[in-house]
Amino acid sequence: MSARPLLEVAGLGRRYGDREAVRGVSLRVARGEVLGLLGLNGAGKTTTLRMICGTLAPSAGSVTVNGVDLLDEPLLAKQSLGYLPEIPPLHPDTTVIEYLRFAAMLRRVPAREKSDAVERALERCALVDVRRRLIRNLSKGYRQRVGIAQALVHEPALIVLDEPTAGLDPQQVHAIRGLIGELRRDHAVVFSSHILPEVRSVCDRVVILHHGRQVYTGVPETEDRGPLRVTMQLARDPGADALAASPGVKAVEAAGEHGWSLTLADESDLDGLLRRAAEADWGLRELVRRRRTLEQVFLELTTGDEAA
């Protein structure tokens, strides 16, 4: 059954007048998968998510949710969708439980199952203690969680969260990441963020958007098979020339005070470098192997274009 992806987005584009906010975005998300949408502010993350959820009409492309075309049959497709917009769509004058009941009704949860569904959502989002409080009086963290509860009260196949951790304290961020991890068991999750560690810690796959284009699609952690890069902190700085003269070193770059970033031909050269460091008494204090991390991928993709 996994042959058909839960969410399939093809060639999605959106224009605002002359400005192209999003162009040519294509995604596939399977059940149980968490997809992170990464990008700087204004990269088109929110626009993309809104088009996936049918709250914004795309200018080009198609969105298929659970095998149903969102543009042809929006009512059917939206039943498989839960969406937390950038600003949680809350009604401040109602209590948490009333609000969730209304959301469940809107999402066509059968009347018999409504109380159970609401209870489950309250429990999952740790809202049981505040269920009878007015949303107006809740803190931002709680409001965000009410927003998430609203998105999953009807147990949709696909949950779309737009910056779910924005403006939360570290503990709440941690809790929400835990929740996303829990959700992946039964649902597919798409969420956006500009915080790299967050994406790295919870996502199976990452899509990086830049200026509305999809510039990268892949796994968050890429093991680099090319030349080995290390950063060294040396107490007694030998200078760039001495380092470059060491066996196997292909390039030397200064990296802060007493720090050097070296590029080695391969793994075996590391032994030679360490031996040389001990013999010449450079006073090695730190040696870090540099991987091509998501940060690097992200920065490479987003800064290069900026200069152009």
């Binding site: 709250t55 929006p74 059917l76 939206k78 769509p89 004058d93």
Partner: protein, 254 residues
């Protein structure tokens, strides 16, 4: 779905202090006006009527001016303006409209739900205006048919103003602008014939037909014509149609 959205919306309206404030103000206005009319009748008109042996009575001299007064029209406009502030404008401003947009709900459901909630509030607002004249039933013989006809007129007028309010509310994300638009469109609709009449110096059949009050006043006098009822219904359907289109357009534009 429509009824549930409407019920929920009306509940939210009744939870807000603003609604009760408007309710209180309009009732005080109406009751004061009503008492004034009764008192005027008792001290001034009653002896005249008896002396002249006129067929006129309380029904003509109290109930007719009560329902025909600008005061009640103003109260209806105030209620409609409040609804315009709350309905779609507020939801757009706070972002909670996204909840409806991302749910499996048709635009027509949203527009009708909001409209019915607004109309529900107007019915609550107007109900005491039926009870005030009805309280005289113990003291005199009321023309129940005329009273009900006038009240139907109030309800239809309220229904039309509510549809204007929901449409105005969909035009802007600023509640105050929505309220101002409602009052603006409402006043123009009420008196469009008077305006054109003042300019051209003669009555104009088209603007006469378009004006709300041309269709309201006969009902106050006890004449319920199907053409008037159809006029009000057309107005309501038209503005709800505009609202649905507007909601669709919002999804395309922003």
């Amino acid at each position: 779905m429509v009824l549930r959205i409407a019920a929920r919306e009306l509940r939210l309206v009744l939870l807000s202090p603003m609604a009760w404030l408007v309710f209180a103000i309009t009732q005080v206005m109406a009751a004061w006006w009503f008492l004034l009319l009764v008192e005027q009748y008792r001290s001034h008109y009653e002896p005249l009527v008896v002396r002249a042996n006129s067929p006129m009575g309380l029904n003509d001299l109290v109930i007719l001016p009560f329902f025909g007064s600008m005061l009640l029209l103003g109260a209806l406009l105030l209620g409609a303006a409040l609804m315009a502030m709350r309905m779609l404008a507020e939801e757009r401003r706070s972002g909670s409209l996204q909840l409806l947009y991302s749910s499996p709900v048709r635009m027509l459901d949203i527009a009708l739900g909001k409209y019915l909630a607004a109309f529900g509030f107007i019915v609550l607002l107007a109900l005491p205006w039926l009870l005030m004249p009805a309280s005289l039933a113990g003291a005199t013989v009321l023309d129940v048919g005329r009273l009900l006809s006038a009240f139907l007129g109030v309800l239809l007028l309220g229904a039309a103003l509510c549809s204007v309010a929901v449409f105005a509310s969909s035009l802007t994300a600023q509640p105050a602008v929505a309220a101002a638009l409602t009052v603006g469109i409402g006043v123009v609709l009420m008196g469009v014939n008077a305006g054109s009449g003042a300019i051209t110096g003669q009555e104009d059949a088209v603007t006469d037909y378009l004006a709300l009050l041309t269709h309201y006043e006969p009902m106050v006098q006890g004449v319920v014509r199907s053409s008037d009822v159809i006029y009000f219904l057309l107005l309501v359907i038209g503005f709800i149609g505009f609202t649905v289109r507007r909601l669709d357009a919002l999804r395309l534009q922003s």
